[in-house]
Symmetry: D2
Subunit: 507 residues, 4 copies
């Protein structure tokens, strides 16, 4: 599977492609048409420059310095200067997976031929990705209208300066390039701008966040299924017809998944003792609320992919029309505000997970012992509510709008921004906190079904149970629970639970 190579065309990258290339190291290859577009685009830029039309970032400075002229004899120097003084990233560093996603998110749109970049640099992206040379990339410092302050760190490595990770070690870029047999690039006109003027940082990190949410929503559906078994709850709110009548796409999928995960569960037995007429909304409405997360995610994924598969360059080189136009295609408000919505929806999913967990500790709802305690002298989950509640509060706090705060900059020329990078990073944090919250829910629901003396579990919910119990034993006497939490978190974070879930559904 790792031998497969993904062909890049500039316009058909999916979230799954990005995850494979970024996280699994899948190799890439640029398609022939794409190469042609890159070359045509470069040629056009030179042709136009020869005809003395001032071209932003090519024969002129950038930003407020757009009124300054750049002369041919200084192209290399000017572009190196530009890389140097744009190298402005603030710690912490992006992870290496993220750096790969970021480079890919820059490379792909280059293949559309709207940039006019030097083809050798395009090749450099491809080679660094395929050889595993990952520039050190501080992830803060961009307001996200172009992540120019951070992407410069990639440019720095390309010209053989700064540092990179290679084979797990941090080293000078020049050394790593040598090791893999690459030569630093020589910057020509517009190349500096072409490297930095892109939203690839937020787009690349964002793509991995989207991937994580796509996976996590499946996990959430499956953990819900186990919790419903822990509660001995009603399955009627999962009724297919009920959701079809409502026609919201997300809830139809979540309800379908939940039913599938519960296939074979004791919950469907007709002769079980009577249940409550209606369960709390955190149970009854789970398919709807998780479904709303799917709806929001679908919006974000659609527009983020549109971003990654079109060019956000300014100026925009139009090869067919033989024109270069100043534009604002680096504006990303559509999907950045989508991420804001996504964060808010994650806050809702977090809340219902927390409430489900609280219910599992409450005898009134479960007819099980308080705090799922296995015996009278065991305190068990009496205090753990503070943990997930505090994490939920973090999520709530992070879910406030962060996209529309900025200053007018660069001599009042840059008077709009989206904080795309920060918005993506706060969403990443929200997702990480939610992993903890769902992990604790799974700990509770596993304990609850154990206390029910292991009735038949559903196909998928059993996989959740097994994943938890593969590392965390039944809680029989008081122990350091923080270790259980960390394990449960890792079982989800590492993908282990998802893998077991998917495998169980394939049987």
């Amino acid at each position: 599977m790792k031998d497969e190579t993904i062909i890049l065309t500039g316009n058909n990258l999916t979230i799954e492609h990005i995850a494979k290339i970024a996280c699994e190291g899948t190799k890439i290859k640029i398609s022939e048409e794409a190469w042609k577009r890159v070359e045509d685009s470069r040629k056009l830029v030179f042709d136009l420059a020869d005809s003395d039309i001032p071209i932003y970032g090519f024969t002129t400075g950038v930003g407020w310095n757009k009124d300054k002229r750049v002369f041919k004899e200084f192209f290399k120097q000017y572009n190196e200067n530009l890389i140097h003084c744009h190298t402005l990233g603030v710690l912490p560093e992006a992870s290496q997976k993220e750096v790969r996603a970021v480079m890919l998110a820059r490379l792909n749109p280059l293949l559309l031929g709207a940039t006019g970049i030097q083809p050798a640099i395009v090749n450099m992206y491809q080679n660094m990705l395929n050889f595993g040379v990952h520039p050190v990339l501080p992830e803060r410092g961009s307001v996200g209208e172009g992540d120019i302050t951070c992407l410069s760190h990639i440019g720095l490595a390309m010209i053989g300066e700064g540092e990179v990770y290679y084979n797990g070690n941090k080293m000078p870029a020049s050394e790593a390039l040598k090791k893999v047999g690459l030569k630093p690039v020589i910057l020509g006109p517009k190349d500096g701008l072409a490297i930095v003027s892109s939203n690839a940082l937020s787009a690349g990190q964002g793509a991995l966040v989207v991937k994580e949410v796509k996976d996590l929503i499946k996990i959430a559906d499956a953990i819900y299924a186990l919790s419903l078994e822990g509660l001995n709850g009603n399955t009627s709110p999962l009724d297919a017809k009920v959701h079809e009548m409502r026609r919201f796409p997300g809830q139809i999928i979540s309800a379908r998944n939940m039913r599938a995960y519960l296939e074979g569960s004791y919950l469907w037995d007709k002769d079980r003792k009577p249940k409550a007429l209606q369960d709390p909304l955190s149970y009854r409405g789970a398919a709807n609320i998780h479904g709303s997360l799917r709806d929001a995610l679908e919006y974000v994924e659609k527009y983020l992919l549109l971003h990654i598969n079109t060019s956000d360059d300014n100026p925009c080189v139009m090869v067919k029309e033989r024109r270069i136009e100043s534009c604002s295609n680096f504006e990303v408000a559509t999907w950045v505000t989508g991420f804001e919505m996504l964060g808010i929806m994650l806050s809702h999913v977090s809340k219902v997970s927390c409430y489900r967990t609280i219910k599992l500790s409450t005898p009134y709802f479960t007819n099980l012992p308080r705090f799922l305690s296995p015996a009278d002298d065991v305190i068990c989950y009496g205090t753990i509510q503070k943990v997930f509640v505090s994490l939920d509060s973090e999520i709530r706090h992070l879910s406030n709008n962060a996209s529309s705060d900025y200053f007018s900059m660069a001599g009042d020329i840059e008077d709009h921004a989206c904080n795309s990078v920060y918005v993506v990073q706060k969403t990443r944090k929200i997702v990480d906190d939610l992993v903890y919250i769902l992990a604790i829910e799974a700990m509770h629901s596993s304990q609850a079904v154990d206390l029910r003396k292991n009735p038949n579990l559903g196909k998928g919910s059993k996989a959740v149970y097994k994943a938890i119990r593969s590392e965390i034993p039944f809680y029989d006497r008081d122990r350091n629970i923080s270790e259980d939490i960390r394990k449960a978190y890792n079982i989800i974070k590492s993908g282990k639970m998802l893998k077991m879930l998917m495998a169980s559904m394939m049987e």
Copy 2:
């Protein structure tokens, strides 16, 4: 046009229909199939109740009282009690237009036959709308999982209690019903729940907010066009090809509109004196940012309409399947978080409008006098920036997430909520503030083109200019500007500017 009647089927209402019925008083008529569904649904509920299946809100209490039995002989009493003690709305009152939209948003889903309501009540909605009898509806007090605390006020009027507006006067409901020849309804089983258990308040008010944003975004595009003329700015960022390459649907539409509005403008003249190489982002990126608002709006409109054209009833009556199921189809997180996103996008549109206005006051960008002052001894717009900046701050503040704050209620059964009502109402406030901000932009751009000695304006931008100048003269000496602001606000708010704009494009 007012003689037209809109046929309600339960599943094909549009925002434009709602606006017509709510704001223009267009009459409605329920389709025959719809009537049949309503009747079949009512019959089914009775059949099932006879077979002794407990039905939530029919033979049982609601909420935490679901464990209580309701007996046949007390149906009327119980349902009146239910209406009475659910009458919990808090001031201020919804406008009459809004009340109409709310009643319509409740009526339409009833027509799908998923409620089991008494047909006479369905008829009552129709009649009250057609006769213009509008219950007094306090608009606060709902957490939006079912606006049961507010919709009860409509039920109250239907049974001849409480107050209504009729022909512009507030009067007892009983009196108004008499005037139009209607008799109060007699509540039967489930009717109380059927009237209140719906999100019609947020959905109805939300539909009018969506309508207002749909109109306002056209206005924003047109005012931008006039501001670009005020600035003597670049048209290249409106280039069709540039936006097509980016493929984001909203920006393609906004750019197209802007080009159309600028048809005939002096900005396209080749021989104008040279402009800046790149304008500030608030100008250069306007099509993109306004376009992102269109993208967000498209999401909200799609799902809000899905809501209004499907049933949010619990329990859900399925006539074909002859079943009633407990469900959570009143969960509205998809479109409520969509409104959150919409509010954030409106904040961005507000910011760029503000920045465009500031630029128009700045000689560095316009080569016009500071603050667009017509003469040395006139202070003109020297202080007005505080006004729109303070309104923009309100918008920023309101754009924070308000949907995921709630308590667990009703004996911990109701442990999820969306605050749909408040979210919609804060969005309504955001939109209203934005009307002021755009109004002030239009005042500036009109003054700017006047100071440019009236060059040729575009088809649409000229309409904006004329709308402003129809009530607000050129600023030639210092005067009470708050009156100008109020006039400009009303020119937009009343629809006058849109009407003039649309007319101009039809010529």
Copy 3:
């Protein structure tokens, strides 16, 4: 009492003075020393102007126009222009009480002689207040570094333009002035600036908010006392020693009040049936949490009064030193961020009130019927939780920071702002919502003690009970509860409950 006259000195105004003058119409009189300072200050400004030192807003323009010279012969014209073009307020209007507080908050600092204003204008403030001539004052449009856009409306009335309220009627300012025998003022140098350049709008409105919170915290303590009786809760957390040991000033006061309000209550009876070992935190911690509100309030009151009793003028006239200096004493971040803290504390007080109310509806905690229902067929407070929860969510939303959002304005000279006006107004809204929430708590606790068959109540808690029952009877069968809520709200809002409480403590 109304015959009393409050002497204004410029430096010893209290919140209680402001409330009396603003809300009760108490007359004012300017002290002699104050008059002398005003006159000396005016004289100094003229002296310095004669010596040809440029004085901001006197011989120069204001804001970005500070580079413009104003010549003597145009003083009147320039200052009228300034008033005109600063008249920029946006609706809604401030209440008349608020307008009085605003005028007072402007007048008082003028008496310190740091302004250099024309004495006749000082007199005009005094006269308009004493005659009850209240300019129409739109309350929005200021970013709060100087509420210049709004205070201009007061200046407008002073020169006989615009509108005012007089004897409850809106009329032209010129007409009202004539009625009371006043002549419009003739503006001299610096007078325009002196009228508008002040934070009197936020300070005046803020003072009334502080007054309302000071009163409301007493009400909250007393309602808590009644709720504790409704719950049959523990009094041990009110133990004086416990709070003394903690030494936080607010909680010591609240606990003392609560004990006093409970004097004579059945709760102190030794032979009552046993209670829970510890009550929920909303009860157990009420003195602490209400006390924290007192701590926050003390901070706000201290600094707001410091503001009102010192000069926020720029430039600052120093009579003794015979100098005028440019300064930033209009910066108000200390007390504006204090209001932000106050809003957050009010959110906490709101939450514990809500939770107390929920407990009163929960048999597990009260051993009373669910939802305090008086009989099996009465639904009672089954749905009302949605009402206060939704209002609490509003409060939560409003409690986010609104003070640090602004644009750089006026040619980038005005690059700081506090949004003091909006912050005060959102706090006013928070307080109003909290009145509803406490009102509903009082409705519940009154019902609870009734269901306990009227045990002996405390001195203060009985007053709360009586205030509620003076208009709202025992809930014996289901009725329109929204009317009860409105009444209970008014009982608090109007001051009736406080008056009855204070009277009861005097007996």
Copy 4:
């Protein structure tokens, strides 16, 4: 200096003490009276328990389990269980300095004798601090009404389980205790609760945040002074008299500092070329705004110290009165909402620092080259604005209220929370971001005075300049600026700049 020993009495710890003990390893010694109180308190608890009064957490369970009885023979087991199952902290770990501050914040109130803890455990706190044995302390997972989920990790180490840091290495607690010659404690009755039931995590971390802000505000004042020299700005807003008249304590101190830091500066020269009549507010109002931060800080420091010097135990043991009372002295809303206010004030200070920096890059204000570029072909600080603007946006986002979000927990007994831990930690993050922002301001102001050809600098501002130039040379040609930023950040963060500043003022 390090040999000094600080005597702990329970009631006179200062922020400076805490910083010394936590950050510099200063030894502690418990006073004799304190010991006596501890012993008396322990004795009383046993006496009362003997008389069969149920004592929360001693003879009963905690939280919802307060209805459970704990019998003498199980004291050790029960208390170990309690520690185990309360061990719930979530990563990341607190720093070792913070762990020390946390232990101290728990130890000090124990000395008041309100806890009834076993004296051997008190001794253990002292010994671990003096020997430098620092439990691994995950810093998340508490809602801050008692940081019981995290402080348990300290208890765990005390009983010889879990991990600690010792001499820079992570190792099992048992191993470290052995190395320093300590034996694990044997838990007796109430000891488990006594260890965990405290707000020491937030109080300890909070104390270090307060210390950092106290230092940083001096730095901010000094950097401002250098920026004023960079701008060639007006000193008149620093006039002592102007601030005295206003009487706000913070601004009087900041203005005094600023004047002192500017002693000897060229700015005071009478014969300098004329300046602008009024500088932008970020300069003119700096003393006021920095002063407001001092005002807010004074509130926080006062109440945080009150917290640390009184007992937050529940139940509260009163030795003199020979009573134990249930209470809520662990409620911390006063100082937690104080931290919220502090965060908001830091946001204002951040904003004015950013605006000052932007001004330094703007020729209109400085008459220096654009972006402080030393030569035409050097781009210099053309892009760095994005860096500090993005960090300021983080601060803005973090400054929203996070204290009033929580769930009702533990069987609805714990229905209030403050999120004190998260609030403190977000404030810590705000402060860290502000260090970057001020660091970048200092880079700019140093460059600006260099471009002014090194005029005479003030005593304090020169120290700032020298601190920067000690590691960061004049920007003469384009280079990787991210390294400069990191250095400048470290110069402040490490205390180097403060030390140089203080030294310069002593000369």
